[in-house]
Every structure is written in structure tokens, then in C-alpha cells.
Amino acid sequence: MISCREAVARLWAYLDRNLERLQEEELEEHLGLCRHCCGELEFARHIRALLRRSGEAAALPGETRARIEALIRELGGQR
């Protein structure tokens, strides 16, 4: 079985869907037996949720939107 150190090193790649099949199976086997690494996995999920949430309120503010839309209209008009 892979070590905790190796398992933790793979967690974000696992959540990113960037692991090869075998690497994924080895990690899942480890997670099935290791409470500590399951905790690390949950924690990684929460950090990622925090990152997702952090910019959600960043919709274009009204004035900025007006400036940007004017720009693309002007550029579009050049075609």
C-alpha cells in the first residue's frame, strides 16, 4: 500500500481528475484504510470550495460593465 506521504501528495491531483487509473486505485485503497488521509481529503475539498466561493461575488459592476460593453461594441463595429 502507498504511504500516507504519497497519498497526501496525490489528493489534489485526485480531486482535479489528473491521476492515472492505477495511481487513483492505489490512493482509494489507502483512503479505505486510513482515517488521517480521509481527513486530509475532506480538508482539501473544503479549501477548494473556499477558492470557488471567493470570487463568486465578482460579477461585473455596473459602471465597469458599461465601459467594457462600449469597448466590445466599438471593436465589433470595426469589422
Binding site: R17, L50, E56, P61
Partner: protein, 194 residues
């Protein structure tokens, strides 16, 4: 990539539905709204100049991401080269650090309590502590679900490089979260021990 069916979409019609997405990405990359607007304007100009090379106008999101990311890289090129001289602390593990330092001794959800310390603006600030190429990789993967292969295509780098950026970016993010919490006195313990 397939050609769009029917009459090709105009620049304006192609770009407009993606403005909020591009602005959100720019805010996360730049941290400040004024810088984000500047980057977005730059990216839209570049997209206009290169619009003739866009083949799939029905699905321009990845192409627009590449244009904006490339404009961002041009702004931070010097900072990117710092990567050669900066250690990101490969051995740092935030989960273990929180357990060891135990900043919430009466809590049974100490790790979540730690993350609850941060509001959205503080997370954007913490992200600014990451090297730019790590920031791009982490944001595109974690927030927008791009795979390493897609990020490689967007950044013009091999997949192996992106995987390394993601790994090191995550390590740097964990360390930045801890250091931010300590230096801004969000937690009482850990001063001088990072």
C-alpha cells in the same frame, strides 16, 4: 475543432456571454478590481486582433481563457522567473500544522474552524501570495475545473509542468493561508513558528 455551422458569430456576439466569466477569472488572478478591469480590457483587445484565428466561435471559452491568461503572463513575467529562486516549502502540510498548533482547543472541527476565519476578500489576498503560474494553474483547476492537459494547452506548457505547478501551488497556498492567519492575528498561536 469543428467549424461553426451557419453564419459565423460576430466578435461582439461571441465575447459578450463570457464577460462575467472573464472578469471573475481576472479578479481572482489580479486580486484588485481595478487591475482586473485593466487586464480584461487588454484581453478583449487581444481577442479582437486575433479573432480571425478563432475557428469554433460557438465555444470560445477556452480560447478566451488562453488570451486572458497570456495577457496576464505578460504582466507578471518577471515575477514568474522568481520561481527559480524561491522555495515553496514542500514539506509544509496545513492539515497537520493545524492539528499540531490546535488554535481552537475546545472545538471538535478545528480544521473547518480554521477555514471559517477567512472571508472572500482575504482568500483573494492569499491567492496573490502564489507565484503567478501556480496561481493560474490552481485557479483554473480548482475553480473552473480545467484539467492539467487543458491548462497546458492554455499556458503553452507540457502537462508535466502544469502538474508540478499544481502540486507546488497547493503547497504554497497552504503555507500562505497559515501565514496570513498568523500575521493578521486571525489565530492567537503560532507567531514566529511558520
Amino acid at each position: 475543432m469543428a467549424e461553426a455551422a451557419g453564419p459565423a458569430l460576430s466578435y461582439e456576439a461571441c465575447v459578450r456571454p463570457h464577460l462575467d466569466y472573464l472578469y471573475g477569472l481576472a479578479v481572482r488572478l489580479c486580486g484588485k478590481r481595478t487591475d482586473a478591469e485593466d487586464l480584461l480590457q487588454d484581453a478583449l483587445l487581444r481577442a479582437f486582433r486575433a479573432f480571425g484565428t478563432l475557428r469554433d466561435r460557438e465555444h470560445p471559452r477556452r480560447w478566451l481563457t488562453r488570451v486572458l491568461t497570456s495577457a496576464f503572463y505578460d504582466r507578471v513575467r518577471v515575477e514568474m522567473n522568481d520561481a527559480l529562486h524561491r522555495s515553496v516549502g514542500e514539506d509544509f502540510d496545513l492539515f497537520d500544522k493545524i492539528a499540531e498548533e490546535d488554535p481552537f482547543p475546545y472545538s471538535d472541527r478545528v480544521h473547518l474552524d480554521f477555514l471559517d476565519l477567512f472571508d472572500d476578500a482575504q482568500i483573494l489576498q492569499v491567492l496573490q501570495g502564489l507565484l503567478p503560474q501556480y496561481r493560474v494553474a490552481v485557479i483554473l483547476a480548482c475553480v473552473y475545473d480545467f484539467t492539467a492537459r487543458e491548462i497546458g494547452a492554455i499556458s503553452g506548457r507540457p502537462v508535466g509542468t502544469v502538474l508540478s505547478w499544481l502540486h507546488r501551488g497547493r503547497k504554497q497556498l497552504e503555507r500562505e493561508l497559515w501565514e496570513y492567519a498568523v500575521s493578521h492575528h486571525l489565530i492567537a498561536r503560532g507567531e514566529g513558528d511558520t
